[in-house]
Symmetry: none
Subunit: 284 residues, 2 copies
Amino acid sequence: MAEAKEPRPDPTRRPHLGMRAGELDGKWYAKYWNPVMAPLPGHVRDAITLGPQAPPLCLSLDDAGRLSDAGYQEFENGYSLLDDGSMYVAALTRMPGASPAMVDWWFGWHATETQRYKLWYPRAHLYAQWHGDAVDRSTPYRARYLSGTSFVDEYVGNVLGRLAIRFVRPGRLGFDEDGLAPDEATAICATVGMSQVPLDWGWLVHYVRRVRDGAEMRSRFWMGGGHVATRAGARLGSELEAAAEGVRRLGEGQARAMVVHCSQEMNHLASFLPALFEEYERRR
Amino acid sequence: MAEAKEPRPDPTRRPHLGMRAGELDGKWYAKYWNPVMAPLPGHVRDAITLGPQAPPLCLSLDDAGRLSDAGYQEFENGYSLLDDGSMYVAALTRMPGASPAMVDWWFGWHATETQRYKLWYPRAHLYAQWHGDAVDRSTPYRARYLSGTSFVDEYVGNVLGRLAIRFVRPGRLGFDEDGLAPDEATAICATVGMSQVPLDWGWLVHYVRRVRDGAEMRSRFWMGGGHVATRAGARLGSELEAAAEGVRRLGEGQARAMVVHCSQEMNHLASFLPALFEEYERRR
């Protein structure tokens, strides 16, 4: 069976929320653990209050590469629900003092250790395990995560997700990779799937570009509906079909929770990424 | 039948929302009736915007007594929905100029008269009737409500609840009663049940402690799911079973409505309690 060949996260893991005594002992980055989350920015609060937006305002997955156009789109924050049962989520995060290269670094650095992953979202992140090619300090930041899979357990709202985030090259979603000079812009692109069964249920892009005082991240998620697909040639048996049914038709609660989750984690990240990265670089 | 022995609110009551002409005639506290509710505090608005939080962040009912620990918990405002169908609700209310003893007094004083109860939440409170031991002016404030039952009709969101709030000793929920000196802290603890049928569907605690400029109240509700239980040895017949089914699996709308209700009534109470209490004391 195709499924058997797929990597899976450690089935014996017993993740817990929060940081317990001793878990940060000896970690040079311990001081970046802050369980008090950065507040949700006003522009995201306002967008959520508006409820689901008209579907034609959504950027289609096929046009994801247009995030690298100058300026902003007409739908930078909030969510929509589409006729095929899918949801669209958008969030803008301002990251003063950060750079696109720092965000590339973050995606390679955080994924290999649960404690690092928890820095990102102390109220929701439970577990991280990396599956990918070996890298070393000479590997460019972006190449450290490309083609790898991040297995994570995390709450989105009150729902526990056991996810496989498989990073893909930006070109796969229509970005001109030559235009993504690490100091100027990056596009973190991935499929979002379940880690326990070979089922993907969507795509994400975090497009990050330099702005005057640092960087800004424009996140997009396309999940559910027509985006649900088996992985690794798996056939839709009854177990997989049940899992697929659970994500084919998404509701407003899930879309809101996803906007909040994305915005909370990225704003919290923005609060410590420049200092964390600078200290990492200093220690090399 | 065990149910027959249970006290019930007056079956002939015809409650109405709001205050009609004459209903406050001769009441010394008439001037504290203010139908314009105090606004929801920003920290509660923000918490609601975040949607349901991860269940491991919730204080468990068994640990309720930990509210008397110094400092704050990681989940002081907002709500969660748990796998057993229950909901968890938390709200912090600042009460400048108030004291824990005033809140103890309020719980004994308001419950014996509908008009007093309506002061608390003019947009939602309909009816109050007290069942408990006789008290007089020499009875300490806390002892006036402990072991009594407050029958109330009130809206939570748009849903009318006919409730039996049965107060219990704080020790029942794990509080060290010796540590609850009336001037320093109090913990109002109760089961929340239906008044028409012998069914409880949850618990509440309002833990109040002195702070520099007055008092603060930290409220918690555990409702639905595994908290649903019959009272007075009643058996789950078909009528009771139908009532139980209605509260076993609670949804996001109910949880949000409960946060809003609790925060609105407590903030409104905070707006007049110090003056009301002072006048009460002056008139003794």
